[in-house]
């Protein structure tokens, strides 16, 4: 079966930034976390998928179909939550829903009512009077009410408080119990993904730096710390090498390779996704 989302050699060039021929794919039924610092190319990628901006070259296939040739068909099967709520502020939740809903072939009003109740969204309240969290929930309700098979989320948690963020993650985990949905979730708040992501794609400065199963990453990667001078800092095995007054620290892809060092000389710690992002970004910054 074709991947739900497949991107090959995707390029988009701007004056001061380029998405540099990125490739990755997401299989059905999984959550892929798309991480990277601000300005790394996450939103550019999502906008290209939605055809909000034009690619220079490369291929985007959704459900095995070209995203431009089958644009309407593909979009009928996608739900999206963007980083901002691009709605008419003066309309009520219900009025805005009425503008959007008729465009989806499989719109399910009953399902929408369910989500409205569950998210405690006030239908008659104006969008401008909703909190940021409420707006995100409204976007999510819209995204989930037409039986989407792929959920695209661009920084959905940025600017939200921890309670709403964790509520969103609970909802997503619950949704994943049905095997029909796949989620592509971009964020720079990597802790969102620690619990729910199956795969991690890490983008930095327009290039994919890492594309692996999350469990592989967390099991194999290690942060190594030790006295200065113990290792060759130019060895490519050590990612994002840094020294301070106590010694050095660096990230390694396979902590088993550290066995050559005496265990009393070094400390190996388990990195979080955030650590991994920071070390890689540091390496690229130093390059």
């Amino acid at each position: 079966m074709a991947p739900v989302l497949e991107i090959k050699n995707l390029r988009k060039e701007y004056k001061d930034f380029a998405l540099d021929g990125i490739s990755f794919s997401l299989e059905k039924g999984y959550i892929m976390g798309f991480i990277g610092p601000n300005g790394a190319g996450k939103s550019t990628t999502i906008k290209l998928i939605l055809n909000l901006i034009k690619k220079d070259s490369g291929e985007i296939k959704i459900f095995g179909l070209d995203n431009l040739a089958y644009e309407t068909e593909v979009k009928n099967r996608i739900g999206f939550v963007l980083d901002e709520a691009f709605y008419y502020e003066m309309l009520t939740v219900k009025e805005m829903k009425n503008i959007i809903a008729p465009h989806y072939k499989n719109w399910d009003e009953g399902l929408f009512s369910l989500y409205i109740k569950r998210f405690e969204l006030p239908l008659d309240k104006k969008i401008k009077d909703l909190s940021k969290g409420m707006k995100m929930k409204f976007s999510l309700a819209i995204a989930l009410s037409h039986h989407a098979e792929l959920l695209l989320m661009d920084e959905p948690t940025s600017g939200l408080d921890p309670v709403i963020r964790s509520e969103l993650l609970d909802i997503l985990s619950e949704l994943m119990e049905s095997e029909d949905l796949s989620i592509f979730f971009s964020t720079h708040i990597t802790s969102d993904l620690d619990k729910i992501a199956d795969y991690i794609v890490f983008i930095d400065n327009g290039k994919i730096v890492l594309d692996k199963a999350k469990d592989d990453i967390l099991e194999n990667y290690g942060i190594v710390k030790g006295p200065k001078g113990l290792i060759d800092k130019n060895d490519p095995m050590f990612i994002g090498y840094r020294e301070n007054s106590f010694g050095f620290e660096a990230l390694v892809e396979d902590k088993n390779r550290l066995k050559m060092f005496a265990p009393d000389k070094i400390i190996i710690e388990k990195p979080t996704l955030e650590d991994i992002m920071v070390f890689y970004t540091r390496r690229n910054g130093n390059a």
């Binding site: 906008k47 909000l52 979009k75 963007l82």
Partner: protein, 219 residues
């Protein structure tokens, strides 16, 4: 798709009332306009609501959402053109209401009737103006296009009389008279149909250009 047309009313309920009130004040204030009363009122009425519609889309960045939905870009453009006709219909209905209600209320103001000439003239004027504005809005969005629109507006305002003078002074005056002569020899219906055809062609060309520009726009 109809809901994309109607939403242009929904998002500016107050502006519609304001524009209707404007027609009433306009009629009362410009008593010597003759047949141009309807034509001018329609230019103003559609201008207020077309600008308001685009301004609201731009302010709320709604193009991003609309273009993420399963809607073809050409249909988003088409709906805007249909909104223009909707505004013209509402404006005409308001004008007719004023025409019938003023005498009933005993308001001592002349409301000139809508004649074939004034109707077709109004349609042509609205088509020309919006036929120029629309592609700009679809290319640049309201905020950036507004500056250019001002330039166009003043160029037309000051430029057209100078241009006409220039042509009359230096150029083919024969040609000018021939055109005038042609129209004088035709019946009203033929003139009306000609102008109607001209309006349709203008809007069609504007639509095709708008679609091409909007398809290339990035959000």
């Amino acid at each position: 798709m109809l809901n994309l047309v109607l939403k242009d009313l929904l998002i500016q309920k107050k502006s519609v009332l304001f524009a209707a009130l404007y027609i009433i004040l306009f009629v009362a204030a410009f008593q010597n306009m003759g047949e141009l009363m309807y034509t001018t009122a329609m230019i103003a009425f559609t201008y207020i609501l077309v600008m308001g519609g685009f301004a609201n889309d731009d302010k709320n960045k709604v193009d991003t959402i609309l273009n993420s939905l399963p809607i073809k870009r050409r249909n988003i453009v088409l709906c805007k053109f249909l909104s223009l006709f909707m505004f013209l219909a509402i404006g005409t209905a308001t004008y007719l209401a004023v025409y019938f209600i003023f005498p009933v209320l005993g308001i001592p103001a002349n409301v000139y009737p809508i004649t074939l000439e004034s109707f077709v003239g109004g349609l042509l004027a609205v088509s020309i103006l919006n036929g120029i504005y629309f592609p700009l809005f679809f290319k640049l969005g309201y905020t950036r296009a507004r500056v250019i629109n001002l330039v166009i507006f003043f160029s037309v305002f000051f430029g057209v009389p100078s241009l006409v003078n220039f042509i009359v002074r230096t150029q083919d005056i024969e040609m000018f008279y021939r055109i005038v002569d042609f129209f004088e020899r035709q019946s009203d219906i033929v003139i009306a149909l000609t102008l109607l055809l001209l309006s349709s062609v203008l809007l069609l060309v504007s639509y095709v250009i708008s679609v091409q520009l909007y398809k290339r726009r990035e959000f």
